[in-house]
Chain length 327, copies 2
Amino acid sequence: MHVLIIGAAGMVGQKLAQRLTTDGELQGKPIAAMTLADVVPAEGPFGFDGKLSIETADLSEPGAAERLIASRPAVIFHLAAIVSGEAELDFEKGYRMNLDGTRYLFEAIRLAHHADGYRPRVVFTSSIAVVGAPFDFPISDDFHTTPLTSYGTQKAICELLLSDYSRKGYFDGIGIRLPTICIRPGKPNKAASGFFSNILREPLVGEEAVLPVGDDVRHWHASPRSAVGFLLHAATIDLEKVGSRRNLSMPGVSATVGEQIEALRRVAGDRAVKLIRREPDEMIKRICAGWPPGFEATRARALGFAAESSFDEIIRVHIEDELGGNL
Amino acid sequence: MHVLIIGAAGMVGQKLAQRLTTDGELQGKPIAAMTLADVVPAEGPFGFDGKLSIETADLSEPGAAERLIASRPAVIFHLAAIVSGEAELDFEKGYRMNLDGTRYLFEAIRLAHHADGYRPRVVFTSSIAVVGAPFDFPISDDFHTTPLTSYGTQKAICELLLSDYSRKGYFDGIGIRLPTICIRPGKPNKAASGFFSNILREPLVGEEAVLPVGDDVRHWHASPRSAVGFLLHAATIDLEKVGSRRNLSMPGVSATVGEQIEALRRVAGDRAVKLIRREPDEMIKRICAGWPPGFEATRARALGFAAESSFDEIIRVHIEDELGGNL
């Protein structure tokens, strides 16, 4: 079993590589080789004793996709993308990286399929940004995709391509719409959605964090551990059961900022909550208003995808996975 | 006012050009120039006394889009596409013509927008093929797009691009999902959907026609006259009222084949109905099962788009427009 991770230098890609190393197998087969590709060299997982290749590759450059699939990996995790804010600021780069790059990958696989019957499992990370306000709440599985960002548009287009290439039998694709990952490990960042993680992660280690929106903002979350779980389940699930609709909204926890803060209080006490400083930011408030509040995710749950069931659990997962289990 | 029609050699393009000539104006402004573009030379409309240009152009070829918009037409009707059956048989051609061609057009407009502020109205003909079974009936405006053909996938992708380019202000786009046009004038064709027109058009002039499916097949139709009406309304409507969701399922008539036949009986009598010969075709039956039975089209109707209200009316429109009003 040879696994290729594209976008392996990112937070989720790194956790996925480490989890695959720990598991040692995928689809019931030992992982003999792993290729980690990204625009910068990805760190290799700790303790992998198969054949490890670290590839520096930009999918949007001609020939890159062909090179990555030359050794015919059986499972491809495609996580690579530039983020929402950058895709919005640089229209051309967003379409080049997030649309053309993915299409080049799919085309390379199609041509390999015609050449030698190659037909890998392709797990594509889509995003809840494919939907756009106004919303029902919760958003049903058959709600239309009317993205309000170029990033969401690019993800929605890639979903359509993934379905069509899969329908034609060029590969076995599945797209998973990730909730906003919370709590992201690392340092606070300036992404508009960063505060969801910041206001929990920083207070948990005694640091101050800034909250730019009101307590009533409701959004959709899952932990990094769940994200990796979704990817692994997508790589192993019987696609006959998924049917022709290959893009699934993943389960998660719908919570308001106020509910997040109360979960923090239950897990870490008032002292942690007091470290949240309110600094309203009108621009971030406006951006948030376009974000989805939550999904039914009926199909994904029925197919065995599972996330946390409360924000308390999301915080506890962070304490276990990032803080060694200690507060 | 300069109007560009891309795909002007097709049936709807020809009728649109003739209607614009008859009207003499669009958006309340006289039509001083009309450019008719297609991969083959389009026939010019009868009686147009403005500046007429007939352009042979394939949008999917580099430079073609730039050339077509060089004179900065204020309204662009983009009707060009290869049809569903061909896009399904020739995967590469389908994506080249139906996706890349449209994207090149949008990109050419975007670059012109950056160069000199050009911002035309773009009316894009999408299709009900953007949805795929299983369906609700009627299909609501917020039902997701899960096409089951490459053609439908390409149209759904172009819808997403149209929305994003419009949101960014590069042009003022609107996409209209046309029902299956009925009754198509001309000769019977081998398109899987051809029988919907054939079983009415041929008997109306005393010719036999073949019906390959059962009476219970339900589908969604509007006349060629309505299609032209949709295009003109889309070219003139206040887009503020449309909002950010720029792709609209057009109104139409939902009817079973049996209901179609009873309408034919009411309009043209038993003698016409007897000319329908039943020759079941399993392949066409299977294809039909994936087609949408009808749409709510609530938003389009509220925005003033109008179609026929019965199949009898669809047949009468054909008699008026194609048979000189006489049976």
